[in-house]
């Protein structure tokens, strides 16, 4: 059964207004599912709680700029060497955005627990010497290790309602190749009830099955496949193109205050279709492309 949908159809069907916990894939300026994020903004879908990977970037920041996020669960939102995330920062400083303070290990282990139906996950000792568990009692707690009698930190499972993810390639059933780094995207797919996958390339099942070990997201976890070439822009799509440093600098310049951030959202998201947005970016995107696609380890020919 084909799960291929247009970008507007996929968001309309699977991201209801007021949805509970949404997670966005990608890390730092890499593999952010920006086509899906922009479409959520165009359809004005409010999200009660947004969960990032250990390092969120434009994927979280733009949803905050659009005023769609009530609360964010994260261990980092920023633009690495380029700068802090202005709307994330202003939202928390002003109190308009709530935050569930997390750390990288909890997000990673919490998704594992969510994926496996574990009631909670024990965490390595050490987090109790930080202030993080004190300000996030919903995700962090302590219990007695039944084997040693010691008190140990534990984390609640993370079970997103919807995951917005990017992959390099998929077939119509959602069997997908993640090129380059997986970050925690695979665990987001494993832990979430509904998975929306935007891809650079839609290919045949015959093509995908040439390298099953490189096809690390199985279609049975995926609910919608959206062909979105250029869909990570202005962030990078591993195996396809680099991030656009200049475009991020432009965003940071505009988002210095709320009016500027809203101006950016209108000018680059809501006033344009995805197609129109990418047409405008096409020239710059071309310059960021890698010369060849990613390498996948193909199966050998049959014997004899």
């Amino acid at each position: 059964m084909s799960k291929v949908l247009s970008l507007p159809e996929a968001v309309d069907r699977f991201v209801p207004d007021g949805v509970g916990l949404v997670t966005v894939g990608g890390m730092h300026l890499h593999n952010n599912p920006m086509a899906l994020v922009r479409e959520v903004i165009r359809q004005n879908r409010r999200i009660k709680r947004l969960l990032t990977s250990p390092c969120g970037a434009l994927n979280a920041e733009l949803l905050i700029a659009a005023g769609l996020i009530d609360e964010i669960a994260t261990s980092y939102v920023g633009f690495e060497h380029i700068g802090l995330a202005p709307c994330f920062r202003r939202g928390i400083e002003s109190g308009s955005l709530k935050i569930l303070e997390c750390d990288e290990a909890y997000i990673t282990h919490g998704l594992y627990a969510g994926a496996g139906g574990l009631p909670f996950v024990a965490l390595p000792k050490g987090i109790e010497f930080t202030d993080i568990p004190k300000v996030n009692r919903e995700n962090y707690s302590f219990t007695t290790d039944p084997f040693t009698g010691e008190e140990v930190p534990v984390g609640a499972p993370l079970k997103p309602d919807v995951a917005l993810l990017h992959a390099y390639q998929a077939d119509a059933q959602g069997n997908a190749v993640v090129a380059g780094a997986h970050f925690v995207d695979r665990y987001m797919a494993l832990a979430s009830k509904t998975v929306l996958l935007q891809v650079e390339q839609l290919v045949s099942t015959e093509e995908i099955s040439k390298h099953p070990q490189g096809t690390t997201i199985p279609g049975f976890l995926v609910h919608a496949v959206i062909e979105a070439p250029g869909g990570c822009y202005p962030t990078a799509s591993h195996g396809a193109y680099e991030f656009d440093h200049q475009a991020i600098v432009e965003y940071l310049g505009m988002a210095k205050d709320d009016d500027g951030a809203q101006g950016y959202v209108s000018q680059f998201v809501t006033d344009l279709s995805e197609h129109e947005y990418l047409e405008k970016a096409a020239e710059r995107l071309e310059k960021l492309r890698y010369g060849s696609g990613p390498l996948a380890v193909a199966l050998p020919d049959r014997k004899g």
């Binding site: 890499h30 980092y76 920023g78 400083e93 997390c102 050490g126 930080t130 970050f183 925690v184 990078a236």
Partner: protein, 263 residues
């Protein structure tokens, strides 16, 4: 642009910082670094190409092991970093961080760093109404488990170096000797702090930060004034050795993008 020059060599403060970090790395180290880590990345490469050829380094983000690209890139998640010896998944690296006996060095930093080497990447001021909301802590809680913590920062001023961090997101020597001993953490704590002005270590009795060397052209009083807590200052403070011609030549072959230039 803060370029230091003497009669024979010209180098930037970031280049000097990379060289100082590099010197603290050992041949049997397995290092991990995180966000915006051009300086430690170059420090590890320099160590591999000089005194520590068997060192392994992991670029947190892509989690590639021994990336060997030149020029070095500024983002720890870059696809180009996967031009490496091998790569782990992020989940694998986070798992290994929990073990505390495999990964030996972590490069840390903070919006605030206190006298005991505790780091804060979360919030300055009251947590509920912060004066400055930081990006978040990412993997800094791992500091409690890693063998050696090497701290680096581009900002040496009294806002960054404070007596107590407003929010503890990366454990150093906690509140000093009694709390550090009581905690019984597997990690060895912070060993070194490198800034654009100086290098600092930690006094073994009080576990407070102690000036070790001042960079060429920097006065001890300048460091004292730029530090928001009472820094331990021994009677004799050597000048940080200048990078050698060989070190600079290796750095510049790796850093043709000039990430360490002019800073």
């Amino acid at each position: 642009m803060t370029v230091i020059s003497d009669s024979s060599l010209t180098f930037s403060r970031s280049e000097l910082m990379a060289v100082e970090l590099s010197k603290r790395l050992r041949n049997d180290d397995v290092t991990v670094m995180g966000t915006a880590s051009a300086i430690p990345q170059i420090a590890c490469r320099l160590a591999q190409l000089t005194h520590a050829p068997d060192l392994f380094s992991i670029a947190g983000g892509t989690c590639s092991v021994n990336p060997h690209l030149a020029p070095v890139v500024p983002s720890c998640g870059d696809y180009d970093l996967l031009r490496a010896d091998t790569s782990l998944s992020l989940n694998d690296v986070v798992l290994l961080e929990g073990r505390a006996d495999v990964l030996t060095v972590f490069f840390a930093g903070g919006l605030q760093i206190d006298a005991y080497g505790n780091c804060n990447l979360v919030a300055v001021g009251d947590y509920s109404h912060p004066a400055l909301r930081g990006p978040g802590t990412v993997g800094l809680p791992f500091l409690s488990r890693v063998g050696r913590i090497l701290i680096y920062t581009q900002s040496h001023n009294a806002r960054t170096f404070v007596e107590h961090v407003d929010f503890l997101s990366g454990p150093g020597f906690l509140q000093g000797p009694s709390s550090w001993q009581a905690a019984g953490l597997p990690g060895g704590g912070p060993q070194l702090v490198v800034t654009p002005l100086c290098t600092m270590g930690f006094d073994p009795d009080t576990l407070r930060m102690r000036l070790e060397t001042v960079h060429p052209g920097v006065e001890v009083d300048q460091v004292r004034a730029a530090t928001g807590f009472e820094l331990i200052i021994p009677s004799s403070i050597p000048v940080t050795p200048e990078p050698t011609t060989e070190q600079l030549s290796i750095l510049r072959k790796l850093d043709t993008n000039g990430l360490l230039k002019g800073k």
